[in-house]
């Protein structure tokens, strides 16, 4: 088995070709309706796939948001490529040991499903020939690209699709590996490591949907892309199940070849067979005016559904994408209320032998015919083995058929954006300020006095710089770590630990403060509420004054007993370290006088 990985990561800069914010939005300011048509490439070729897509004559509705301008609407030429995004892409390229090309050319990749208002996605090859070392060995990274994110699909209806422009134009880094991985565990490690490198730049977007992984799996025949495999822990399962599925399909192909199996194009009308059927699904369908149509699968008995083989499921997936809920095939019948007699009559009508099977569909006639065509197409592919497909990962570890794998990218130059010369001097400059690799950062944090586990978490959350800054200023590494790990996004931790170091409250209060701020209270108010409950200086002042004679008597030796007295009043309210320092100073003051 060979696996490859393609990772798309959104960047936290402005959009790639305009000055809009890179974020999602719920604020809709209006809509426009557009259509798209295919064009010719610079080599004078006409793109057939694009042409076919356009023949659907679909209309696209675009929702204009507060973070989209005329550029996203394709009403204004793109501005120059965002330099900060390019800078991040080059950083990532260098961290992956890739070589940055001398001149970057922005291309138009034809995409006329409407997800780009222009009918193409702008993309540029930034670097080539990188690699990543893993515990399984080296994985090559042939290309690193910088491209624009597509519009967000909101809904799809008959004849039109609604997209929102908030996401269109957000910069994406696309990292593609060679098919060098041999197991799901390895794919998971590579995805994890590349994710960590991306986050180390501190300039990537975070949250659901901001990073997407596509996994390519091939077992020597056909190529399958598992699109949007975003849960890292599930990757080994998805890959393993896909490997099994492909092995199964290859075995089935061998059986079918041996049997000289074939797929008959003729469609049989079997409605009369089921006129008095007890099958609720079929009888209801017939009442709605549906027909029961079937095709013959010569030599397919036993591979559609058995302990080992499940080709029926593959057939069913193909009809589901055109909106047909399901089909019945020979291996699963009689069942679902369909009687042995009915099955026998079907077999008789279609003149089927023991090794032969069939598929029947109860649907509106045109839809049923279209669906059976899909079944026949898929069954014919089964004679060969593993078809090229794009599949969607499911939560149960399996995958589901989405569409055929798209052909090679169709690209021509984006003439509105001049090529960008990348000088060696610039690359060297970026090299000098590369962020530390995640492993190194984890070591840094461990050296500041926290566990590896906590360090890993903080680096993964991108909080390492803030953590380091606070701990170097105020100390309390384990408390800072716990606060950050338990805390929520967007808390400013610095003032909390500044106040702690000033003795405004005890260490024990930090958890409570973080919790309250996460629940929406203002940080300032929460800190103030602790401040007002205790005045450390006043308590120390009072006790020192009361025990003045004792201090004169014992000198600095008075510290320990007095500390006990002070802490009796302040325990749990103020950090002891702070109290001891203040008390020591106060005693010195008294002695001096």
């Amino acid at each position: 088995m060979k696996c490859g990985l393609e990772i798309h990561q959104q960047l936290a800069t402005k959009k790639l070709f305009c000055d809009c914010e890179s974020r999602l939005s719920e604020e809709i300011r209006g809509t426009v309706m557009r259509i798209l048509r295919p064009t010719q490439s610079e080599m004078g070729e006409i793109d057939r796939a694009a042409l076919e897509e356009s023949m659907k004559n679909r209309r696209f509705i675009y929702e204009i948001t507060d973070n989209s301008c005329l550029v996203e609407l394709d009403e204004e030429p793109p501005h120059e490529l965002n330099r900060e995004a390019l800078d991040v892409a080059i950083q990532v390229a260098l961290m992956l040991h890739a070589k940055v090309v001398d001149e970057i050319h922005v291309m138009r990749k034809i995409v006329i499903d409407g997800s780009n208002t222009s009918g193409f996605q702008r993309t540029a090859l930034v670097a080539v020939d990188g690699y990543l070392d893993t515990s399984f060995g080296r994985v090559r990274i042939p290309t690193i690209c910088l491209e624009e994110e597509a519009a967000r699909k909101i809904e799809e209806r008959d004849g039109y699709v609604v997209y929102r422009l908030d996401r269109l134009g957000i910069p994406l880094i696309e990292i593609s590996t060679a098919p060098d991985m041999k197991s799901g565990e390895e794919v998971k490690e590579v995805a994890e490591k590349i994710g960590a490198i991306l986050r180390a730049t501190k300039r990537v977007r975070r949250g659901v949907g901001t990073i997407r992984q596509d996994i390519n799996v091939s077992t020597g025949q056909g190529r399958v892309e598992i699109k949007g495999a975003s849960k890292l822990n599930m990757i080994p399962k998805w890959v393993e199940n896909e490997r099994k599925r492909q092995e199964m399909l290859k075995e089935i192909a061998e059986i079918l070849r041996e049997r000289k199996a074939e797929v008959d194009s003729e469609i049989y009308d079997l409605t009369d067979v089921f006129e008095k059927t007890e099958s609720r699904i079929i009888s209801r369908a017939i009442k709605r005016g549906a027909k029961v149509l079937g095709i013959r699968l010569i030599g397919f008995a036993g591979v559609l559904k058995s302990e080992k083989y499940k080709l029926g499921r593959e057939l069913a997936e193909r009809v589901r994408v055109i909106g047909v809920k399901g089909l019945f095939h020979g291996d699963e019948l009689p069942s679902y209320g369909i009687t042995p007699e009915e099955v026998a009559r079907v077999r008789e009508r279609m003149n089927l032998g023991n090794e032969d099977s069939f598929v029947i569909i109860a649907e509106r006639e045109d839809l049923a015919r279209m669906a059976l065509q899909k079944v026949a197409d898929r069954a014919r592919l089964a004679l060969v083995g593993v078809p090229d497909e794009t599949r969607a990962p499911q939560d149960d570890g399996t995958t589901r058929y989405l569409r055929p794998l798209p052909g090679a990218a169709r690209m021509y130059p984006e003439t509105d954006i001049p090529p960008i010369r990348i000088s060696d001097a610039y690359v060297r400059e970026v090299e000098k300020r590369l962020p530390k690799m995640p492993e190194e950062r984890i070591r840094d944090l461990v050296n500041l006095g926290i566990s590896r586990q906590d360090a890993l978490q903080i680096v993964r959350d991108g909080m390492d710089d803030v953590f380091e800054d606070i701990v170097k200023k105020y100390g309390y590494p384990t408390i800072v770590a716990r606060a950050m790990i338990n805390g929520c996004d967007d808390i400013d931790y610095e003032p909390i630990f500044r106040a702690l170091s000033e003795g405004k409250f005890a260490k024990e209060a930090v958890d409570d403060i973080v919790l309250r701020v996460c629940n929406g209270e203002s940080l300032e108010d929460v800190i103030r509420s602790y401040e007002s409950t205790v005045d450390v200086d006043a308590v120390i002042e009072r006790i020192v004054m009361e025990k003045r004679e004792f201090i004169m008597e014992r000198g600095e030796g008075a510290f320990k007993p007095l500390m006990g007295l002070v802490m009796k009043e302040l325990r749990g309210k103020v950090d002891g370290k702070v109290v001891s320092e203040k008390l020591r100073n106060k005693i010195k003051e008294v002695l001096k006088r």
């Binding site: 394709d74 001398d102 001149e103 050319h105 193409f120 090859l125 130059p413």
Partner: protein, 411 residues
């Protein structure tokens, strides 16, 4: 280096590794050291070559298309006269920019549906950028229209959008009588992209060319959406946005109609005449002057030097600084025709309201009502080319082709 030509499959050795791909033309403005190739994965990259080897010579490609159209008796005949511009544009290898390049058949190839609307005959009269247009070309175009119109039922003229309204209004004046519609059409997104507005604009233009109208019009997107085009009267339309699809607006009036699946006229429009009359002379000694604060009388004087006419885009209701009045009075006395429009574009000039206006009027400056400055400029050229000074002066203030309207409304 090898004797490698554009289109050849080459291998480029660089410090960063060895690359293979199709050799592309060098960019005209780029780093001369850089070689651009299209890699097998479709991406173009620029590289500094240490060595370059030829792998495979470019194959000569067959001509891209054959357009073979059978004439259908039931359909009207429409003539497309190409002039260049974005609606008929292509990627230029040398500059990497979009340039007009499609042949006439490309229109049909690009929009096959127009063949269902009409029998199309097409030719490219010239292939120039909109900004390179000049009166001499307007005349050539008008003569071509005159020739074609005798044989067809309508004329469609794809034109670059930058100066389309100038050319359209020039033709509007040059044809006092028209036996068929003359429809100008352009696009704001070049036809080399899937989102081009060229398709809908061209389809709509062909539909308008089939109507019983006898006017010169401009057909372009009505809004940012791909569902409707407006029919603008040539003497009323102006490009009002650098890049939007709906850049063309009818000013001081309403479009005369719209095109969705069908053509709908909103109100009155001129019907086809029995015959077509062409008056194709243009006096190019006319200047269009944009007045601005700080412009000196000396500068105005040099701009008027040797001119037979001038259209001034004044401020507000139609003013220039009062110290220019003596100069203008003198020039008018010498026989120069001087008209006043407003840089406000919207609204009518009026030289009676303020003293400078009254002085300008007294000096003989013609208030040009609500005429667009560019239209007034073209109209003056045409009048001075075909009439004597007195007649030209009289007609300048008279509505000839819908360029002046008596009433304006709150929309």
């Amino acid at each position: 280096m090898c004797d490698c030509r554009e289109g050849d499959y080459v291998e480029v050795v660089t410090e960063k590794g060895t690359f293979r791909g199709v050799l592309l033309p060098k960019s005209k403005f780029g780093d001369p050291e850089i070689v651009v190739i299209k890699l097998d994965n479709g991406y173009n990259v620029g590289l500094i070559p240490k060595e370059m080897r030829l792998i495979k010579r470019a194959e000569r490609r067959e001509s891209r298309r054959d357009v073979n159209l059978e004439r259908k008796e039931s359909l009207p005949d429409i003539s497309i006269i190409g002039t260049g511009g974005t609606i008929a544009s292509y990627v230029d290898y040398r500059t990497g920019a979009v340039h007009p390049a499609m042949s006439a058949e490309d229109f049909i190839f690009a929009v096959p549906e127009i063949a269902e609307e009409a029998n199309i005959r097409a030719k490219v009269l010239f292939n120039i950028l909109s900004e390179d247009m000049k009166p001499e070309y307007w005349i050539r175009l008008a003569r071509e229209v005159k020739r074609e119109i005798e044989e067809v039922d309508g004329i469609v003229i794809p034109h670059g959008t930058d100066t389309m309204s100038y050319t359209a209004s020039a033709l509007a004046f040059m044809f006092p009588k028209l036996s068929a519609p003359v429809v100008f059409v352009g696009s704001q997104r070049s036809s080399d992209r899937p989102s081009s507005d060229a398709y809908i604009n061209l389809m709509s233009a062909v539909k308008v060319a089939k109507t019983d109208m006898g006017e010169v019009v401009v057909v372009m997107h009505a809004s940012s959406s791909d569902d409707l085009c407006y029919i603008h009267r040539a003497t009323r339309v102006r490009k009002m946005h650098t890049s939007r699809r709906d850049a063309f607006k009818t000013l001081n009036s309403s479009p005369i109609g719209e095109v969705s699946n069908v053509v709908k006229f909103y109100g009155d429009y001129r019907k086809r005449d029995e015959e077509t009359l062409l008056m194709d002379k243009m006096d190019e000694k006319v200047v269009l002057v944009y007045y601005y604060p700080g412009m000196t009388a000396d500068l105005m004087e040099s701009m008027l030097d040797g001119m037979h006419g001038a259209v001034i885009m004044g401020t507000g209701l139609g003013h220039v600084s009062s110290d220019m009045v003596p100069l203008l009075r003198e020039r008018i006395r010498d026989g120069v025709l001087i008209g006043m429009t407003s840089q406000c574009l919207y609204g009518r000039v009026n030289l009676n309201v303020y003293s400078t206006g009254r002085e300008l009027k007294h000096a003989g400056v013609i208030p040009l009502e609500d005429m667009l400055p560019e239209v007034a400029y073209v109209k003056m050229m045409w009048l001075l080319g075909n009439y004597d000074l007195e007649k030209a002066r009289e007609l300048m203030m008279k509505n000839l082709r819908g360029e002046i309207e008596e009433r304006r409304f709150l929309q």
